[in-house]
């Protein structure tokens, strides 16, 4: 079975500095990977996804992630944090269970952005 591990439960950065949210996955085959964001009292929104095309994936709001098979990683980055980026971020992997695909969510990383 597939799984994801988000290495940091909390990350705190200053506005204007880079953001790095780390995610490692375990997979017996080439996975599909996603990052979702959840702002306070809001539903989740897809940031970006990797589905075996380009290894560097660009998403919304200036975020991007790089799929590194050798490191089994899919870290999320942004060059310059904005106050509005403060939210919970989930790394997600698609798994094939019982003949159909389902999404497995990581534990989440809470990003705080300080002035």
């Amino acid at each position: 079975a597939q799984s994801v591990t988000q290495l940091d439960s909390h990350v705190s950065v200053s506005e204007g500095t880079p953001v790095l949210l780390r995610c490692n996955y375990s997979s017996s085959y080439s996975p599909s990977l996603f990052w979702y964001v959840q702002h306070p009292n809001k539903g989740l929104q897809l940031l970006l996804k990797y589905t075996s095309a380009a290894t560097l994936v660009k998403g919304i709001n200036g975020f991007e992630a790089e799929f590194k098979k050798s490191e089994t990683s899919f870290h999320l980055t942004k060059p310059s944090a904005h106050m509005s980026d403060a939210a919970e971020y989930f790394c997600v992997v698609s798994d094939l269970v019982g003949g159909y695909n389902k999404l497995i969510f990581g534990a989440g990383t809470r990003l705080a952005v300080h002035p």
Partner: protein, 112 residues
């Protein structure tokens, strides 16, 4: 994309009671998903609801505790039965496919 409305957005419930959460989608969808997000934790899939058939429950979730209805292609309900404080969670309705899921804002339940 899809716009999903959930009701109630939040509620405080007494132990032993049941609460039904409604999920309305602005377009017709085949599959609807119900997730639970316990305090400080990630999302766990409760069940998948297809219109016209019984919901499919994930390991650890049973129909007696979480009965689901799916009367048409735009609507579903999830009931949390005989609630205990351990059921205090955010319950989220979702539609889409593995390529992209769209979520409602969730229903935050607190059980006293």
């Amino acid at each position: 994309s899809a716009v999903i409305s959930q009701k109630p957005s939040r509620d405080i419930c007494q132990r032993g009671t049941s609460l039904t959460i409604q999920c309305q989608v602005d377009s017709q969808v085949t599959m609807m998903f119900w997730y639970r997000q316990q305090p400080g934790q990630s999302l766990t899939l409760i069940a998948t609801a297809n219109q016209g058939s019984e919901a499919t429950y994930e390991s650890g979730f049973v129909i007696d505790k979480f009965p689901i209805s799916r009367p048409n292609l735009t609507f579903s309900t999830l009931t949390v039965s005989n609630m205990s404080p351990e059921d205090s969670s955010i319950y989220l309705c979702s539609v889409g496919s593995v390529a992209e899921l769209f979520f409602g804002e969730g229903s935050r339940l607190t059980v006293l």
